[in-house]
């Protein structure tokens, strides 16, 4: 397959799925479900960024919630000082990218376990700063009365919100799929698979890592800006380590580096429980247990199960094409 075919193959199914979800939400959602649809869209964006970074870089980022929080707070503060809401996404992306750049540069030479710990620490630092810089963030009480895109979500504007967030999901999907199938993505995976080999052909590992962290952070910053302009209210607790853990968990459950898997897993593990009004307690329990079980038996997540199911079905029903899962696209983290 050439590059553009691979791009379409990774973009189209996931984008189609997103379009279907958005359409279903537009057609059938009541006010509550519209809210769920919006928040699930935010989750998908966050998870896509994580999945892209972890999958192509082979390193864990544990501070998506921090980047998300920075995007949210900065765009909220700017809007409270008069910036029009439609600029927020650009601001969110910029803030995310800048903070990602800073973190990436600080951690240029750090990898593996160490990078996971450093990013975890950075995520917690962001949360602490949101709490402690009271003069700016208003501390634990949070920011109230942040402008929103279309006012409080209601029957009149729910379609607008859904279109905005799922539109953003599809744009993010497109950008990440492009990146993944570009030379950049190719080099990233070369580094992931063998640092020594990549270094010997002259790839600068640190530079690629910084770029990837920046991309993931920009995506999270966008999610933050979108969230701000829907919620109108921000508290530091929204951006805790727990959220980073959930984002990582959702990405892993979907299958690292599988965009379709990221969407499905966000729907299954975040959207559906909220739809069913499962309490946060059960949602957390399900997350934990499913993550443990999945890591034992199918560490490549839903995408591995999907590939397996398809090959099983082929073998059983048609008696052909019983292939191994494609090791190039689904890979154990």
């Amino acid at each position: 397959m050439n590059g553009s075919r691979r791009f379409l193959a990774s973009f189209l199914p996931a984008a189609a799925l997103c379009a279907v979800v958005a359409l279903a939400a537009l057609l059938f959602a009541d006010a509550y479900l519209a809210q769920v649809a919006f928040l699930t869209g935010i989750t998908v964006i966050l998870v896509l960024g994580e999945s892209f970074a972890v999958g192509n870089m082979g390193q864990l980022l544990m501070c998506q919630a921090g980047f998300y929080g920075i995007g949210a707070y900065v765009s909220a503060l700017l809007e409270m000082h008069g910036m029009p809401p439609y600029l927020a996404p650009a601001v969110g992306i910029t803030c995310g990218a800048v903070s990602g750049l800073v973190v990436g540069l600080a951690a240029t030479r750090i990898r593996g376990h160490y990078l996971a710990i450093v990013t975890l620490a950075i995520g917690v630092i962001v949360e602490e700063l949101l709490n402690n810089l009271q003069g700016i963030t208003n501390g634990p009480i949070g920011l109230v009365g942040v402008p929103t895109f279309f006012g409080p979500l209601n029957a009149g504007n729910q379609a607008d919100y859904i279109v905005v967030v799922w539109g953003a999901v599809i744009v993010v999907l497109g950008c990440l799929a492009l990146l993944r199938e570009s030379r950049f993505g190719w080099f990233l995976r070369a580094i992931r698979d063998s640092e020594a080999a990549a270094e010997s052909i002259g790839l600068r590992i640190g530079t690629y890592q910084v770029a990837t962290v920046t991309v993931a952070a920009a995506v999270a910053g966008l999610a933050g800006a979108l969230y701000t302009n829907y919620a109108g209210l921000l508290v530091p607790d929204l951006f805790s380590y727990g959220l980073s853990a959930q984002i990582l968990a959702t990405a892993v459950l979907g299958g690292i580096n599988s965009f379709g898997g990221a969407v499905v897993s966000s729907l299954v593990f975040n959207g559906v429980p909220q739809m069913a009004q499962v309490t946060a307690f059960y949602q957390y329990l399900i997350f934990g247990v499913v993550l443990i079980v999945m890591m034992q038996f199918a560490p490549r997540g839903l995408s591995q199960i999907g590939v397996y199911a398809v090959s099983l079905a082929r073998r059983r029903l048609l008696g052909w094409g019983a292939g191994q899962p494609n090791a190039a696209t689904v890979r154990r983290p």
Partner: protein, 291 residues
């Protein structure tokens, strides 16, 4: 002023003792199994609930609460290992990811059983104030220091003077070669999980009376433990001991300056700084972690 400083100092030692007991487990996990376990603080939390249950519902005397909690954690950890980590031996990031799931599962399970309400663990020594010079400290806190010293000495003797301890160190250095000497790595891993359980159980039983026990208390402690381990050097037992007390004192003095809110931020900044500048930690590597 002197009284104030010395109370801060004692406070720092007490906090440092707790950090040390928790961080030793984390550093042993890394040194011997090469895993990052982000659920360690949650095992502390489960231990604290064991202490709560034993003290409040079973009405055990305090010394029995301590023993029950230590034993409970020492049994719990190998079971968790069997269920959660064992299948992922040799994977670098797999155990880390699973430990995130384990942390979530433990938190919500405990919340399911005990609710999210803060609980208090009874102890007879809590209201027993001891005067040291001009400072008065609860006996409960002071208890921590000698207990910790005893435990560290015991750990040291175990690692340095027993054959099993020798095996632990050998597996940490050269797991494949140790196998050639007839050491079964799984046996050593089991020993490490039991040790980590005993240490964290002691920390939980002795600190729980001074803290409010909640299902989410573990996360913060996990983070503290990793700060200690980064400063002390991953897998480095001596380093963890030194770093725990440094962090305890920093925490105490920062709070003493009226900056309690900033203590975590400062400590975390220290972690990031260490990782950038000196990822091998303060003290030269001892347990044989290969970079």
């Amino acid at each position: 002023m002197l009284a104030f400083l010395s109370s801060l100092f004692i406070n720092g030692l007490v906090t440092g003792s707790m950090f040390m007991l928790v961080a030793l487990g984390v550093t042993l996990f890394y040194g011997v199994l090469r895993i990052i376990n982000l659920a360690h603080g949650d095992v502390f939390m489960v231990g604290a609930y064991m202490a709560f249950y034993a003290g409040t519902y079973l009405h055990l005397p305090y010394w029995a609460v301590v023993i029950v909690t230590m034993m409970g954690c020492a049994v719990l950890y190998p079971i968790l290992d069997l269920l959660v980590f064992r299948r992922l031996r040799g994977s670098e990031l797999g155990p880390l990811i699973t430990s995130v799931g384990l942390s979530m599962a433990l938190e919500s399970l405990v919340q399911g059983i005990f609710t999210a309400n803060a609980q208090a663990v009874p102890s007879p020594y809590l209201n027993n104030l001891v005067n040291i010079g001009t400072v008065s400290v609860p006996l409960q806190s002071l208890l921590m220091i000698p207990l910790t010293l005893v435990v560290v000495a015991a750990l040291y003797v175990f690692l340095r003077r027993t054959r099993t301890g020798l095996m632990v160190r050998a597996v940490a250095m050269e797991p494949r070669v140790s196998q050639l000497m007839g050491v079964r790595p799984e046996y050593v891993y089991g020993v490490v999980f039991v040790l980590a359980g005993l240490l964290v159980g002691l920390a939980a039983a002795t600190m729980a009376p001074e803290l409010y026990v909640t299902p989410t208390m573990g996360v913060e402690l996990t983070v503290d433990a990793y700060i200690v381990v980064v400063i002390g050097g991953f897998g480095n037992v001596e380093g963890a001991i030194v770093a725990a007390f440094i962090l305890g004192l920093i925490n105490s003095f920062v709070s003493g300056l009226g900056l309690a809110d900033w203590a975590t931020t400062i400590a975390l900044a220290l972690l990031v700084g260490f990782m950038m500048v000196r990822p091998s930690g303060l003290v030269a590597e001892r347990l044989g972690v290969r970079q």
